[in-house]
């Protein structure tokens, strides 16, 4: 508990120093949150080769905007919000290329996946099966509208609670619940449509 408090006060001190113009104090903040930002960026954009560059851009934006940080939300939330917004912009830019991911998925491979999940509990899957499943969801997400993709990623991959997502996206918890529910439904209906198109 005492350790946590000292970490928080150290963080606050670093933020205040950066706000006063001591850029070096940004280093410990990067060290502390780089893993979190890498995770958000990776799960949202799905491209390993782009993660570091995008994370760097996120920290750059945060550095430039740090004077506007007013301690109302936690620094982690504030920084995550910048990461989500940055990835959102990135996803909108690369929208044109995303369809190709989905078109690579054949009906046969979808059936194969279904058989695998039907028969065994997911934790009993081998490495190859996990990769296939991950690929399947990854393609489904790539096809989803950006808003759905962001909210599904934060919930299903980043494991944020509804309340955390609400704070991050500046929404009400009830709105997040509804959006989450609709995003899942849309994603599954999209899969259904894709399957019918393939027939």
């Amino acid at each position: 508990m005492a350790r946590l408090e000292s970490e928080v006060s150290h963080e606050v001190e670093c933020i205040r120093r950066v706000q006063r113009g001591e850029g070096e104090a940004f280093g410990p903040l990067v060290e502390r949150y780089q893993q979190r930002i890498f995770s958000i960026v990776f799960h949202l954009v799905r491209r390993r080769d782009e993660v570091e560059d995008l994370a760097q851009e996120v920290f750059f934006k945060a550095f430039r905007a740090i004077r506007s940080y007013n301690f109302q939300s936690s620094f982690a939330t504030w920084l995550s919000r910048i990461a989500v917004n940055h990835c959102y912009d990135y996803l909108r830019k690369v929208r044109a290329s995303r369809l190709s991911y989905y078109s690579e998925m054949t009906e046969e491979s979808a059936r194969e996946l279904e058989r695998k999940v039907e028969g065994s509990p997911p934790q009993g899957l081998d490495h190859g099966e996990r990769i296939t499943l991950r690929d399947f969801v990854s393609r489904l997400l790539a096809r989803a509208p950006e808003d759905d993709r962001v909210i599904l990623t934060l919930k299903e991959l980043e494991d944020f609670s509804v309340e955390e997502i609400a704070e991050l996206l500046r929404l009400k918890s009830s709105t997040v619940k509804v959006r989450l529910h609709r995003a899942r439904k849309r994603m599954l209906e999209d899969l259904e449509r894709w399957r019918q198109e393939g027939k």
């Binding site: 850029g23 499943l133 899942r184 439904k185």
Partner: protein, 152 residues
């Protein structure tokens, strides 16, 4: 329960147990049963993906980044400032030029200032010359008030 309600329920519960009525619907509706199986597939896919290792920052990521930020602060921020100021100066000049142009053009084209502008340039038309001034003119003949009417 209809199909839409079932789909709402599957998306809402997301892996939770479905009520008996919903299970009964699934047993006789192939499309909804498929929807439910797809949901299970997606849940398994999300789990598998969440377990995947996130790429690690390369060695010295933080220190390299801070070095770049400090470098940017020294040079980039300053040039960015001048760039912003310069851009604003250009916009202001353009706005001023536009305002000047408008002030020259407007008197010759507007309906209100048309006469004044034409007057200024000595270009008043014969029709305008033949028209009495509505405000200061003789109002004894009501026809004179009809715009564009040439007096007899």
């Amino acid at each position: 329960m209809d199909c839409n309600e079932i789909r709402d329920l599957v998306s809402e519960l997301w892996g939770g147990d479905l009520p008996a009525a919903a299970r009964e619907h699934l047993s006789r509706c192939a499309a909804c049963e498929r929807f439910w199986r797809d949901a299970r597939l997606a849940q398994a896919g999300f789990r598998a993906w969440a377990e995947e290792a996130v790429p690690e920052p390369s060695l010295g990521f933080a220190s390299r980044l801070v070095r770049r930020l400090l470098e940017w602060e020294r040079t980039g921020a300053r040039s960015e400032f001048f760039e912003t100021v310069g851009r604003r100066f250009v916009y202001a000049t353009l706005a001023l030029t536009l305002a000047l142009l408008l002030s020259l053009v407007l008197p010759t084209s507007g309906p209100v200032r048309g006469v004044a502008g034409a007057d200024f340039l000595g270009l008043q038309s014969s029709t305008q010359l033949s028209q009495p001034d509505v405000i200061g003119g003789d109002l004894s003949d009501p026809h004179d008030m009809i715009p564009g009417r040439v007096p007899d």
